[in-house]
Symmetry: C2
Subunit: 299 residues, 2 copies
């Protein structure tokens, strides 16, 4: 089955202590869509400006990502610039130019309103809701978010949460949303806001699923060197949804393995700037790391 | 086989935002010895003052911990007092009274010099080395440490490291010791300092083993409520060594499961002040949580 992904499509300029990479292909939807594309058909909903490089459109196409829902509008593509500290965890935003995103209202091509799997990747929760309202009868809807929306659009996010099957956020966001220091106490409160499945991302510490059948502790793939973690969370949830959409059987039966696949795609993402390494990765390399994670956690 | 444990034997006064508990039984050796006692015979090497409550000696005895190596000297028992913040991760030391520990020189009863498993629980590395020098041919020697010794006794610690089979430390200590932000890069450097097995404790994020056969990602048992994490790391390594000493087969074959058992005993430790919950725990309860961890990590 196919996955519909809405989110940001951006140009990212990323600085680390060792390198500087201007105008890489970025945005939550770009990372999530490429990640999901390893497993099956993906359609992207987003907007870019007239300055969007043709080579990035070609990149989407090489990954067989459906672009019927990608608007190309007069104006500039969303541009984000950030700088990482040496530990690769702390980052600060240097610049945010919304460009064509300022007035973006996603309208779904009619075919895509039937998409069974919907990933509302990180973007304003009002836009996530707007897309969701155009869907007919989706089978499984998951949203990701970021601290910005907790700060400036919490009422919108709370409305969205009631309509989700699954919600993905990181540990500091879970703390911010619930005022709970303990992640398991936070999970309990987040379920009460709506979603049946909640996934908490913990970066290099892996992730946690809380669902109807309890918890799953999902490891991160061990990386000795992280070049650029931008988009790792988007790759994680994109890989997860791509795997779920392609897998035979129900959500409950597949969601743990789906998280493992998401975790592995995210590990490749961290090994290159922007999408450089993810786009070089093969399905066979993904399978190798999944098998390694099995060995690394067996006891 | 039996485990010999040397470390601190203390009275801990612990403050949290919700409670205050004066003069609990504490110290690295107390926590580690009780944890190890679930699996087989344990002998304790330590020192207490004449003020040490008889009920704490009785507690050791109820756990069948051999006390031939526990000196009772004129003076006061080591007293540590600390306060936790609401998140139960950050703590500050309010008071440290070394008492009889100031002049402690552990001398091993002759029988115990043959102990096959040796746990040098957290204590000054010079004392850890002093104990190790009295051992005949130990089969497996593991040491734990803390940031204090990295700050004030690094040369002693580096000397000790060359003589160890296994070394246990937490993630911030690994960073401090190696100047590596990435934990896998840190592990590589720590192996070069001597130990074949290195375990990095990450609190509620679990722990990591690096050994001759690669990594093991060990989960922490999910706890919705942490009452007092004091001694959790000592319980972890104590449980691990207790399990290893009792298990049939070699280290390599058992060390992953040993870490899981250590992790579970540590989870009980966190659920009560001092040793209150650990001492109430049964082996059957430990087995239940080990099985749960199997379910929580399977994919």
């Amino acid at each position: 089955m196919s996955v519909l992904i809405v989110g940001s499509t951006a140009l990212d300029s990323i600085k680390t202590p060792k390198a500087e990479n201007p105008k890489l292909l970025g945005g939550s939807a770009s990372h999530a869509a490429v990640a999901a594309s390893f497993f099956g058909p993906v359609n992207l909903i987003g907007v870019v400006g007239e300055d969007f490089p043709k080579r990035y459109l070609d990149l989407y196409k090489r990954h067989r990502i459906g672009l019927e829902g990608l608007q190309i509008l007069p104006g500039k593509t969303f541009h984000w610039s950030g700088e990482y500290e040496a530990n690769m965890n702390n980052r600060r935003t240097l610049l945010t130019e919304l460009g064509v995103f300022e007035t973006f209202t996603p309208t779904l091509p009619s075919k895509q309103q039937n998409s069974p799997f919907v990933l509302l990747a990180n973007i304003a929760p009002s836009l996530q809701s707007h897309v969701l309202s155009q869907m007919r009868r989706p089978k499984f809807v998951v949203a990701d978010t970021m601290d910005l929306w907790l700060n400036i659009a919490l009422p919108d996010l709370l409305k969205l949460l009631k309509r989700l099957d699954g919600f993905v956020l990181n540990d500091s966001e879970a703390h911010q949303l619930t005022q709970e220091d303990n992640v398991f106490a936070a999970l309990k409160k987040i379920h009460k806001l709506g979603p049946k499945y909640v996934v908490i991302k913990k970066g290099s510490h892996g992730s946690l699923l809380s669902g109807p059948k309890g918890y799953f502790i999902c490891p991160a793939y061990p990386l000795r060197k992280v070049l650029d973690p931008t988009g790792a969370g988007d790759s994680f949830v994109g890989g997860m949804m791509g795997y779920l959409a392609a897998a035979k059987g129900g959500i409950e039966q597949n969601i743990r393995r789906a998280m493992i696949y998401g975790s592995v795609v995210a590990s490749f993402c961290c090994e290159g700037f922007g999408l450089n390494q993810t786009t070089r990765t093969t399905r066979a390399q993904i399978e190798t790391r999944v098998k390694e994670l099995e060995r690394l956690t067996r006891f």
